[in-house]
Amino acid sequence: MMSYEFMQKSFIMGILIALIVPTIGYFLVLRRQSIIGDTLSHVALSGAAFGMITHIYPVYTATIFSIIAALGIEGLRRKYENYAELSLSIVLSVGVGLASIFISLGNTQGILSYLFGSLALITSKDIIMVVILGILTFMTIMIFYKDLFYITFDEESAYLAGIPVRFVNLIFSILVALTVAISMRIVGVLLISSLMVLPVATSLLITKSFKSGLIYSNIFGIVSVMVGLVLSFYLDLSPGGTIVLTSLSILLLVLLIENIKNNQKINKKDQ
């Protein structure tokens, strides 16, 4: 399997994505903003379609569209402070609307690979883009880790501790947009938010601390991506689907183990 060049590329991209997507997802889930992934991925799809019809590298256009959308969400969120989810619905509608128009304009035959991800179509350009943006995203998360932790826990107290909350939120929004854009090639836009949420959901079942929760999310993400890629190769299925279903299987397995453990504890108490 690893003798194929496209599989080597897939694994390089996969590991990076498995480190970044659940990391971003961890903060999103804890801030109760996990739907942002879905919203931005729909906008990224319209960006990719725009790239295809204008003959610009689709990942570039998807990145730009996602960043604009992320900034738009932040702006609208301030306008609709008490209906924060409204900003997501508005931007999602715009994304789907634009995507359908661009796709109907033609010359977008490869769009399916952006919907569900594809291993065979990964180019060296994709790899370079993912490596650069991936390292940039990961480094930024590391630098702002404590600020993000504080804002995630309590935004008002974070402000009073001297954290530039608006600036950090803005940086984080851009990171989410970048993450969506770089993951769409391998996971597919429709499944990015699943990879943002499922490893985190699994991690929350077993973690006791914030830091270990983040590490568990990454471990579950890496396992999901690795197993998913292998399954995709041998079963000739779309990688996005196999990655997400692997992630779901891990969640169900951990849920089962946790239930058994809890039952054992209850039985011990009863005795």
């Binding site: 404590k146 009073l160 501790a161 929350l204």
Partner: protein
Amino acid sequence: MKKKIVVGKNIEFSYGNNKVLDDVSFHIDEGDFVGIIGPNGSAKSTLLKLMLGLLKPDQGTIELFGERLDKFTDFQKIGYISQNVRDFNQMFPATVEEIIGINISPRKGMFKGLKTEKKVKVEKALKIVGMDKFSKDKIGNLSGGQKQRVFIARALVNNPKVLFMDEPLVGVDQDSQRSFYKLMDVLNKEHGISLVMISHDIGVISKKVNKIFCLSNGKVYCHDSGKCDCSNMLKDIYTDNMSILLHHHDSGQGDG
């Protein structure tokens, strides 16, 4: 003369067309224990947020420790327990130590744990609130009263001069409330920390504090002594249908 911790002059604040604070002035002195009371929607939390700079007044000025709020940067002097922490997600994955430690060095260091001197600070803060045995526990596994103590410890970890609390006793049982007021007494009298808290329980808080801000119809009525016979004022605020428990204090001066 006592130092002024917070001074508000001619404050006005509106939500859209609804003016919730109208030409309000007040001050909080060093060593004060201030209770903020008033019916629902009387802008208690708004007033607290204005004092902290979380909201900006439409008119008027607020000074913290003698500095205008927009110039104020010495956030270490302030401890704050918001309503948000009370309603926070029970599944939030963080230990007591992490929650308190984040307040010491929110902007320093990357993905690494607390250094020894910071750990000592965390332990000290936990000891003050009697929670030193729980530093490795997950915050979501603690009871309401225990969580509240952890949040107080988080606010205390930087040795603040003043502690602002937005309804810290909601959802806390009677025993925990008693120990909360004991702790407040220690912080106020022994550690010299000024306290400002919002409460709905007028009967209890009026016995504990030395100054009360009563909010009603956009106004703040401040008083801090037995000189203030506030039965009529409280009836205005809470209407005649409410049973008013009057409160008097031995010393201090009325403010308005």
